[in-house]
């Protein structure tokens, strides 16, 4: 009975989050949103920032609760499955509120499959009169992602039947499918560890950046996890193909290639630990290209979930998951990327992991 109540409150929270996301619909996007939500998000910025912070804090509250239940084995796989499916079912219908990347994916797919142009050489902005230009935020960029991703986007693009609103949701559904596959892979690779499953699947950063904003990082990580599963099954060729597919989504997993080549030298646990740390290094180096984006941390969480005994990694992931979600706050409040925003974003990113790791070391040395 108690779990059902928790589930109900959790679902209500997700439903409110999904409703709240519709306040972020661009004025030029061909979807009429509630004027109340639009005005709230665009003209009551302190309140919007407060609501967003409340969502994040509440989601982390539930996350800790579910993790604790999983650690104590007081939650069943059936209950976790229900939570995952509810989160997916509700947030699939949310609007990609905190990032415009999904529109870049759609635009790149349109350049490729509708205009039949090479998206690495022709930018969306070059198509005068293209309706997406009214609400896109990075129309002046060539394709940022690797070719396999562009090839895969043919599926949600054609399922969208040329209608932008439908296409947004076919892309979201496509990415949600990969979320489900990656959740299953974490379950398989952790040999049915419920704690690992909860750690990955119900992480607020994974949920928001994958199921709300629809980032493709989970697709890249799905192929990387498939590669590991195949590697542990001694199917090396298929494993390498899967690794290259992962690299073909977003390049970042290229750093895992040496681990695959010398996999015979490492035990399974070590291999996963090295992968987590390598992806963490790539994550930290991301400002060399642009900046640290919150969804990049999914690269680390995917492997960290498979190392439930590593407490240092646990607190690092918790700290960064919280900090990276708080990165959205200065933009929500100031609505510009200049001024104090970059500084506050950096502080928001690094203070929470600093605190969690300080707590970790304090506990470690007090023993």
């Amino acid at each position: 009975m108690k779990f059902e109540l928790i589930l109900l409150v959790y679902c209500l929270l997700l439903i409110f989050l999904a409703i709240f996301s519709y306040g972020f619909v661009d004025a030029n996007f061909p979807l009429k949103t509630s004027s109340f939500l639009y005005n709230l998000v665009h003209f009551h910025r302190p309140l919007t920032t407060g609501i967003y912070t409340l969502f994040i804090v509440s989601l982390f509250g539930f996350y800790f609760y579910f993790l604790d239940k999983a650690r104590r084995q007081q939650i069943t796989i059936r209950q976790v499955k229900t939570l995952i499916l509810f989160a997916l079912g509700v947030l699939l219908f949310s609007f990609p509120a905190f990032s415009y990347d999904i529109f870049n994916y759609i635009a790149t797919a349109k350049v490729t499959f509708f205009y039949k142009e090479n998206p690495y050489l022709v930018m969306p902005i070059e198509f005068l009169g293209e309706p997406m230009l009214k609400f896109m935020h990075a129309a002046n960029k060539y394709a940022l992602y690797a070719p396999f991703w562009i090839l895969l986007t043919a599926i949600p693009y054609f399922l969208g039947l040329g209608r932008i609103v439908l296409t947004v949701f076919t892309f979201k559904a496509f990415i949600a499918c990969f979320y489900l596959i990656s959740v299953w892979l974490v379950w398989r690779l952790s040999a049915g560890n419920l704690y690992s499953l909860v750690f990955f699947a119900l992480n607020p950063l994974v949920i928001i950046e994958t199921l709300v904003s629809g980032h493709n990082d989970v697709v890249m990580m799905t192929f990387a996890l498939i590669a590991f599963l195949l590697l542990f099954q001694k199917r090396k060729l298929l494993s390498l193909i899967s690794l290259f597919s992962s690299i073909g989504i977003k390049y970042a997993t290229i750093v895992l290639t040496p681990l695959f080549v010398f996999s015979f030298k490492f035990k399974k646990e070590k291999l996963i630990a090295y992968s987590a740390w390598l992806m963490f290094i790539v994550f930290l180096l991301s400002p060399l290209r642009e900046e640290i984006y919150s969804w990049y941390f999914i690269w680390v969480i995917s492997f960290a979930a498979l190392l439930p005994k590593d407490k240092f990694l646990f607190w690092l992931v918790i700290g960064f998951s919280l900090g990276l979600l708080l990165r959205h706050i200065p933009w929500l409040y100031f609505r510009n990327w200049g001024g104090f925003t970059p500084k506050i974003k950096t502080l928001a990113t690094f203070i929470p992991p600093g605190i969690t790791l300080f707590g970790y070391f304090l506990k470690l040395f007090s023993k």
């Binding site: 205009y115 039949k116 142009e117 090479n118 050489l121 022709v122 070059e126 198509f127 005068l128």
Partner: protein, 165 residues
């Protein structure tokens, strides 16, 4: 109507000064690595698909070959210069064909057409300057082959004519 007249006037002002910037030519004919560059350009052709992409690619090559030709003419490497100029002509015409193809595909080519016109104007500027400094003809005498008369003036005139849009 007034807006169209204003646009034409504005375009005419731009065309007089031709702000179009030609690229740095990179490796020149005669350089040992030049054949590799040519192979690279050829391979790129397969990567460049789509009418807009091909238009941009062909125009970029037309620009590059023109700068090559200009430099070679200035260094009196007339035979190589004539070849580079002829290549530039071919690429410039191909760019136009891909622009027409884009229009047939229903793409709005207004901006690209304007750029093409600017490029043509800039090319003409370069070619007209060359006309001033180059002899009308030149007898090219290779070491082991019979001499060849190169009609520089007519080649330049032909190139200018091709770029009159």
């Amino acid at each position: 109507m007034l807006a169209r007249k204003f646009k034409n006037f504005f375009l005419a002002v731009i065309l007089i000064s031709s702000p179009y910037v030609l690229p740095y030519p990179g490796l020149m004919p005669g350089n040992k690595l030049y054949p590799i560059k040519q192979v690279f350009d050829k391979v790129m052709e397969y990567w460049v698909f789509g009418s807009f992409a091909r238009y941009k690619y062909e125009l970029a090559l037309a620009d590059k070959k023109l700068v090559e030709a200009k430099t070679l003419f200035e260094y009196q490497q007339y035979l190589l210069a004539m070849k580079a100029l002829s290549d530039s002509n071919v690429h410039f015409q191909k760019a136009s064909k891909f622009l027409e193809q884009a229009e047939r595909e229903g793409k709005n080519i207004t901006q690209k057409e304007d750029i093409y016109k600017l490029a043509g104007k800039k090319h003409q500027e370069v070619l007209k300057n060359l006309e001033q400094i180059l002899p009308e003809t030149f007898i090219w005498q290779p070491e082991k082959k019979p001499a060849e008369e190169l009609n520089l003036k007519s080649a330049l005139e032909e190139a200018i004519r091709l770029r009159e849009i």
